[in-house]
């Protein structure tokens, strides 16, 4: 899309040879899907050079822009992307739901929405190892609960009746498929009179627990159920032997939010056979020493990288303009520079890995500062991150026109059909 152009043309070439020329009006170019696909097949692992020219009343002879390159990877991305669509509002919502997008086309289909009630909140969905055979999601409100879709059956689990009798929030499905780790958060909001950051979302309590799908019970560890430590955003290592999470310890937990809330990144060993946690809790990122606050740790399926969000403080980075993605190499424990994925002005946060560990999706508010849009990013086998691109739309203006934010994106290999 090129703003202000009446007529626009893109010439794509590879190895100095023109391979496709497409034109459009009102600054919009749409690539025919079949031609685009065959072009990608031809240039696999190569580079497409794009030359854009535009014409309008002020420039009847046209303007030719500097060409840019698109690197075509031969690492496949998962076929579908799921996400929640919701207004970036505050206390209430109306129509909302979890949707799935076919990444080979522009098809977008609801997975589960609140169409019947219009008041329920559908959130925090997750899948075991990117499989669409199973899924879990929460639905808040009348008739709500935590829903588990497994082996073709959709069941509701009432966490207020099992284990510590606590509602659950952020999920992490164990790679074995038999357990889901949850944090249980008591979340509050406050609103600021001024400034572009308008709201602060924070927890006054949060604990960790693990739900055993086969036994239908809950595993807890007293260390992660205390009131003086907030644990949140659980994430399993690729082999399921460690549980990573964000943790904040404070002498006095706030009734109201204070900007002194800094979350560390920690991990604890877990034995799924004995269903017990290890004794030692390792701190991977110490916020007292390094500053900031960690949220959303996510480990690549090959176990090599850990991607997380770092904000100045707090636990809800989507409202923190300074929040950026950070990555850690789990073999060397060294930081990997992913600044190419970040926007210096607006929040970059909720992210997840594709099953091949080469693609990442993350949410960013860089377009307008308020509506989260999804960006796809590639990381090569040397661990080098490449420039991200906006989730393609049939009409690129859709990213501006859509009145909902994208939220909690997760890759899945195939389309999911819930028996609703």
């Amino acid at each position: 899309m090129l703003e202000g152009a009446d007529y626009v043309q893109a010439t794509l070439s590879s190895d100095v040879k023109e391979i496709l020329r497409v034109s459009g009006r009102d600054g919009i170019i749409e690539f025919p899907q079949s031609e685009w696909r065959s072009l990608l097949d031809k240039v696999k692992n190569g580079v497409i050079s794009v030359q854009v020219s535009a014409w309008n009343e002020e420039n009847p002879e046209g303007i030719m822009y500097r060409s840019f390159d698109i690197k075509v990877s031969d690492d496949l991305i998962d076929g579908w992307l799921t996400y929640r669509l919701i207004e970036p509002g505050y206390v209430e919502w109306r129509q909302m739901g979890i949707y799935q997008r076919n990444l080979s086309t522009f098809e977008e289909i609801p997975v589960v929405t609140n169409r019947e009630s219009s008041t329920n909140c559908v959130n925090c969905h997750h899948f075991p190892s990117h499989s669409s055979e199973s899924m879990m999601y929460h639905m808040r409100g009348a008739g709500g609960g935590t829903f588990l879709y497994d082996k073709g059956v959709l069941n509701k689990i009432d966490f207020t009746k099992i284990g510590p009798k606590k509602n659950v929030t952020y999920p992490a499905w164990h790679p074995d498929g038999g357990m889901i780790a949850f944090s249980s958060n008591t979340t509050r909001q406050i609103f600021y009179t001024e400034g572009k950051q308008q709201v602060e979302v924070f927890d006054t309590a949060s604990d960790l627990l693990v739900y055993d799908i086969h036994r239908g019970d809950v595993i807890t560890d007293s260390r992660f159920m205390t009131e003086d430590v907030l644990e949140t955003f659980p994430a399993w290592s690729h082999d399921g032997k460690y549980l990573y999470f964000a943790s904040h310890k404070s002498a006095s937990l706030p009734v109201l939010f204070t900007p002194d809330m800094h979350y560390d990144l920690v991990r604890v060993a877990f034995d799924s056979k004995t269903r017990t946690f290890g004794e030692k809790v390792d701190t991977l990122y110490n916020s007292r020493i390094s500053g900031g606050s960690v949220s959303h740790p996510r480990i690549s399926p090959d176990g090599r990288h850990l991607l997380y969000t770092l904000a100045d403080y707090g636990t809800f980075p989507v409202w923190h303009r300074e929040a950026d993605l950070r990555m850690m190499d789990l073999e060397t424990m060294a930081d990997v520079d992913v600044s190419v994925w970040n926007d210096c002005q607006e929040s970059d946060s909720y992210h997840s890995w594709a099953s091949g560990s080469r693609w990442v999706v993350f949410g960013s508010r860089r377009l307008d500062g308020r509506y989260t849009r999804l960006f796809l990013a590639y990381i090569d086998e040397d661990g080098k991150p490449h420039k991200p691109f906006l989730l393609p739309q049939e009409d690129p203006r859709q990213n501006m026109w859509r009145l909902k934010s994208y939220n909690a994106p997760e890759f899945i290999k195939n389309k999911i059909d819930l028996p609703l």
Binding site: L85, R94, Q95, F191, Y192, T193, E194, D395, W401
Partner: protein, 463 residues
């Protein structure tokens, strides 16, 4: 021919009723709905139960910004149902029987779905009847009496009178139209008209009217003179704390938008928008576009203007703002980013805004009047001394003179430092005299808008 004349006559009567008696109730519907010829709007709409009718309703409601056109649509839809029924029975008065029912069914609904349901059902019945009738000869046995001229005239008259009563009862008698008009006046910043349309008595018992008129008094510089005349009784009187209904959210959005507080404006615009099917409505979208234009946030202002330009009736509205949009293309948005303050307490918010914008008298008056209403004399005097030189050098508003007289009883320099008119001094003497001589009724009547009356008659204590 005669029967069509009857239909036209009734339509004109209904149109006149809507247009002359309830225009603002119709205009209100436009602001509370949303339509955009955008793929996302259609896509999300399809996932809503009753989607086709809601979609048509949203499309039609765009035109309700123009009362005459709104009245036409609001007349034609029920009359379309009537016409479909006539196609079955071929009897005018029978066809008119459901009219009052349709109007009653529609009353108070913020969409046109009740009307459209009526149209859909009657049209379907007419189509089924005619398809059936094309195969089988169908005739409803109609006893002679049903075709009697006088019965027809009587029944038509009863239907029409009942219809007119339903409109009057549902919109005029219960005050709905007055509230809708106030909402329109506030949204369009017609402050003098707001003050003219709310009497002190109405403001005294009606929370919504009181808030509207207090905002209008502030915008016309009369808050510190007449706030208590219009029933101010606490700092919570300026905005709604409980915003469960659409009118209170709309008011808060307009209040903060008028006052220039960006974050609360955006907050209430979103809260208001979530009341409606797709999480957006025209009132909120327009408010958000204007707010972001004012702040200089190009990306968001452009977003909302672009979206509004895809509705059928915002072409001019958007064009009028394109120059402003262009002027902020490279601007840095003017968000204040100093310290973070949590909002929600009116006195605290206004003291903060007064600190930020000392030149804006509205914040000083909101703060001082809120403190007066909360009977916080000490804090009032502290702030008053801070702002008097800036805002009240030429003349001190009446309410402030009245409390300064009371403060002077403990701190005499208050009366010498600030000019209190002879008229106010005399009134106070007279008020005290009336109260102490047991003529409270006279005191209440004569000095109803004074701060002394507020203090005395609310607390039953001597000022």
């Amino acid at each position: 021919m005669k029967r069509f004349f009857v239909f036209i006559l009734i339509s004109v009567l209904l149109w006149a009723m809507w247009f002359f008696l309830c225009p603002y109730s119709l205009v209100l519907l436009e602001g509370f709905d949303f339509f955009a010829a955008l793929p996302d709007f259609t896509f999300l709409n399809l996932d809503i139960p009753g989607a086709p009718l809601k979609y048509i309703s949203a499309f039609l409601l765009q035109f309700y910004a123009h009362p005459a056109l709104a009245a036409v649509i609001h007349t034609l839809l029920p009359m379309l149902s009537v016409f479909c029924i006539w196609l079955i029975f071929k009897n005018v008065w029978i066809a008119l029987l459901p009219l009052p029912l349709l109007l009653w069914y529609q009353t108070g609904d913020l969409s046109l779905v009740p009307y459209l349901t009526g149209v859909a059902v009657s049209a379907l019945a007419a189509v089924v009847y005619h398809i059936f009738a094309s195969f089988v000869r169908v005739s409803f046995p109609q006893p002679k009496i049903l075709n009697s001229k006088w019965l027809g005239i009587s029944m038509v008259s009863v239907s029409v009178l009942m219809s007119l009563f339903v409109i009057w009862n549902g919109y005029v008698r219960n005050g709905y139209e007055k509230i809708a008009r106030l909402d329109y006046l506030v949204e369009n910043r017609m402050w003098n008209e707001v003050i003219d349309s709310v009497s002190p008595q109405e403001a005294g018992y009606d929370d919504y009217r009181r808030k509207c008129v207090l905002l209008a008094l502030s915008e016309t510089g009369r808050l510190a003179d007449d706030a208590f005349l219009y029933g101010l009784s606490g700092s919570s009187d300026f905005v709604f704390g409980n915003t469960e209904n659409v009118m209170s959210r709309n008011f808060n959005m307009n209040f903060y938008s008028t006052s220039g507080l960006v974050n609360p404006t955006v907050y209430y615009a979103f809260q208001q928008a979530t009341q409606f099917v797709l999480g957006m409505n025209f009132d909120s979208a327009r408010c958000l576009a204007d707010t972001y234009l004012k702040v200089g946030d190009y990306a968001l202002a452009k977003k909302y203007l672009d979206i509004l330009s895809h509705s059928s009736c915002h072409g001019k509205w958007v064009r009028d703002r394109l120059d402003k949009l262009e002027s902020i293309r490279d601007a840095v948005p003017e968000y204040r980013v100093d310290e973070k303050h949590i909002w929600g307490n009116f006195v605290y918010d206004m003291s903060l805004m007064h600190e930020r914008c000392p030149e804006d008298r509205r914040f000083a008056d909101f703060l001082l009047c809120a403190l007066l209403a909360d009977r916080n004399k000490d804090l009032f005097y502290k702030y008053f001394q801070d702002v008097a030189a800036e805002h009240y050098q030429s003349s001190i508003p009446r309410l402030y003179q009245e409390i300064l007289l009371l403060i002077a009883q403990e701190e005499p320099e208050a009366a010498s430092r600030y000019e209190i008119s002879e008229e106010v001094r005399d009134q106070y003497k007279n008020f005290v005299y009336l109260v102490s001589s047991g003529r409270e009724k006279v005191a209440r009547k004569r000095y109803s808008g004074t701060y002394w009356a507020y203090l005395y008659f609310q607390n039953h204590k001597h000022p």
